[in-house]
């Protein structure tokens, strides 16, 4: 349950850091420019809208400005660290040609991101395919729960990268080993959240199932699945977060094309601007993945 609660503050940060979500005030203020005669009631409402909009936009902008300011000051005092302006220039050049390819060790940032996303997709997808059904069964059958809980408790806290040597040993290749690390580190939140969700299905619903003597399939499709869906989506969201966290570290070790390897490569080239850009890219992609899943979760909530 602690995992479920832990998601809440994160959500709020995401919501407040996304100013484009408030298009209403912008369209409402537009007519004022073309039509100078506005009834006073409308004017004050527009004024309220404007105030609300500013209150919505100013704090995140202020935070961002403060961050860039501190970054600039720190960069001034330590000459190795590039400041905001050089980093911005480097980013403009970098993103002007994201999909070039000069052999396996020199590819555009776009290719690196896509390769990382593919690894995350495959590893996370397999984890979902196994973890979610497993979570349902563990939640539904106490015997299975008692059987698996010691293994899960033992393996869950293991650092993701500790699994990498096992992957390299078994698969004898870097790429499957990286996918394996994603798989094994992102499967736990999905198993645990799904199982918790199943065990928290209200007793009343299960009593309905008992009185009606519903088949196991009907219980699953009409009661368990809809009741567990919100928990499951939380698990998926946590999992994809973990997967995206781990991919950078895994790729640093395995090499190949990918954002993690790219960071390491740029460190070897001493292009610190690119490392900072990579940090932002990783952050933004992670944010987008999270937002995507929040949107999906909202669509499927029944309340």
């Amino acid at each position: 349950m602690s995992t479920v609660i832990a998601m809440q503050p994160k959500l709020e940060i995401v919501a407040s850091a996304a100013p484009p979500e408030a298009p209403a005030p912008a369209t409402a203020t537009a007519p004022t420019l073309s039509a100078p005669v506005v009834p006073s009631a409308t004017r004050s409402r527009l004024f309220d809208y404007g105030r609300a909009f500013l209150r919505f936009v100013i704090p995140p902008l202020l935070g961002l400005a403060l961050f860039v300011g501190i970054w600039a000051i720190v960069a001034k005092t330590s000459p190795q660290l590039p400041g905001p302006a050089p980093t911005w220039d480097a980013a403009v050049t970098l993103f002007s040609d994201p999909f070039y390819s000069n052999g396996p060790n020199d590819q555009g940032i776009g290719w690196n991101i896509l390769n990382s996303l593919e690894r995350v997709g495959v590893g996370f997808g397999m984890a979902a395919l196994i973890g979610i059904p497993l979570g349902f069964m563990i939640g539904r059958f106490k015997f299975l729960n008692d059987m698996t809980s010691p293994i899960i408790s033992l393996l869950r806290p293991v650092s993701p990268l500790a699994w990498l040597p096992i992957g390299l040993l078994v698969f004898k290749a870097a790429n499957p080993a990286a996918i394996w690390v994603i798989f094994i580190s992102s499967i736990w939140p999905m198993i645990i959240n799904t199982a918790v969700g199943v065990s928290r299905v209200p007793e009343d619903y299960m009593n309905v199932a008992k009185v009606l003597k519903l088949s196991e399939w009907k219980i699953f499709s009409k009661i368990l699945f809809p009741a567990v869906l919100p928990y499951m989506l939380t698990g998926i969201r946590l999992s994809i977060g973990v997967a995206w966290l781990v991919i950078v570290a895994a790729e640093m070790l395995t090499g190949g094309v990918g954002i993690g390897f790219w960071v390491w490569d740029e460190w070897n080239n001493l292009k610190v601007e690119h490392i900072i850009i990579a940090i932002f890219v990783v952050g933004i992609v992670g944010l987008l993945l999270e937002q995507l899943l929040v949107t999906i979760a909202k669509r499927f909530s029944y309340e």
Partner: protein, 263 residues
């Protein structure tokens, strides 16, 4: 009289951390077909436990529980349950909630059109035809409870078991649903066992009122036959001396003989 639901020498003991807790001791009750029985008693006296035993949601090894001559081995659709908090599935519409029950009971022998008709009939019976496409959170508490009743009745159960079905409703809605339930019970010839803590509700609805003694080790203290003629009208009964006499007898049992000192 035919014994439709038979409860003989039933004891119910729960295992708790402090050791065994005797909830019910030596309960004997026979319910005839078409009879409306209410179970009344102070909270914690085991009236819901008794109902859940008949529903099959609880089990005891001690005593005999029969429904229509067959032993009650577990829950089943022959005993429709109306839960206190309606227990509708929030992701299904009213129609789908009722249809789930109809499909389970009649799905093997009847075609889809017939199943749909049964569902619509059940909703019409409780006066909710207009709300069939609404979800539970879009309708009022009284309407939800009516859907719960429709779901239970649509299964054409041998016995309708109701666990304080109107306990969570306001007084006006409760009165309205009581009147409807009386009509439905007459029209469908239902056998009903209902748990309540409302004396007026018990006298108004019942053929017999089963009064339980205080727990632990609760048992049936007295059974009061309510010989008021049907159909009953709550306004007329308000002036009826016999109604007040019966009501007084229940109150006397609850507050004189079974008053819980700590309550």
């Amino acid at each position: 009289m035919e014994k439709y639901v038979q409860i003989e020498n039933v004891n119910m003991v729960f295992d708790t951390k402090k050791g065994p807790f005797v909830a019910l001791q030596n309960v004997n009750l026979n319910v005839t077909q078409g009879e409306f029985i209410t179970l009344i008693g102070h909270s914690g006296c085991g009236k819901s436990t008794l109902l859940n035993l008949v529903a099959g949601l609880l089990k005891t090894d001690d005593g005999v529980l029969l429904c229509a001559g067959r032993e009650i081995a577990g829950p089943g659709p022959d005993r429709g349950v109306v839960f206190q908090n309606h227990s509708l599935l929030p992701w299904l519409t009213c129609f789908e909630n009722v249809h789930l029950a109809v499909e389970r009971v009649f799905g093997a022998k009847e075609d889809k059109a017939k199943l749909k008709q049964r569902t619509l009939d059940a909703l019409a019976l409780v006066g909710l035809s207009h709300a069939e496409h609404k979800r539970p959170q879009e309708i009022s508490g009284g309407m939800k409870q009516r859907v719960g009743i429709a779901r239970a009745l649509a299964m054409e159960p041998k016995v309708l078991l109701m666990d304080e079905p109107f306990g969570a409703l306001d007084a006006l809605t409760r009165a309205h649903l009581q009147d409807e339930l009386m009509k439905i019970a007459v029209n469908t010839h239902s056998t009903v066992m209902m748990v309540t803590h409302d004396v007026d509700e018990a006298v108004l609805l019942s053929d017999r009122i089963v009064m339980l003694t205080n727990g632990p080790a609760a048992t049936i203290g007295e059974i009061l036959t309510v010989d008021l003629p049907r159909p009953r009208d709550r306004l007329a009964l308000a002036e009826d001396p016999h109604y007040h006499h019966l009501r007084g007898q229940v109150l006397e049992f609850l507050y004189h003989r079974q008053l819980r000192p700590a309550a």
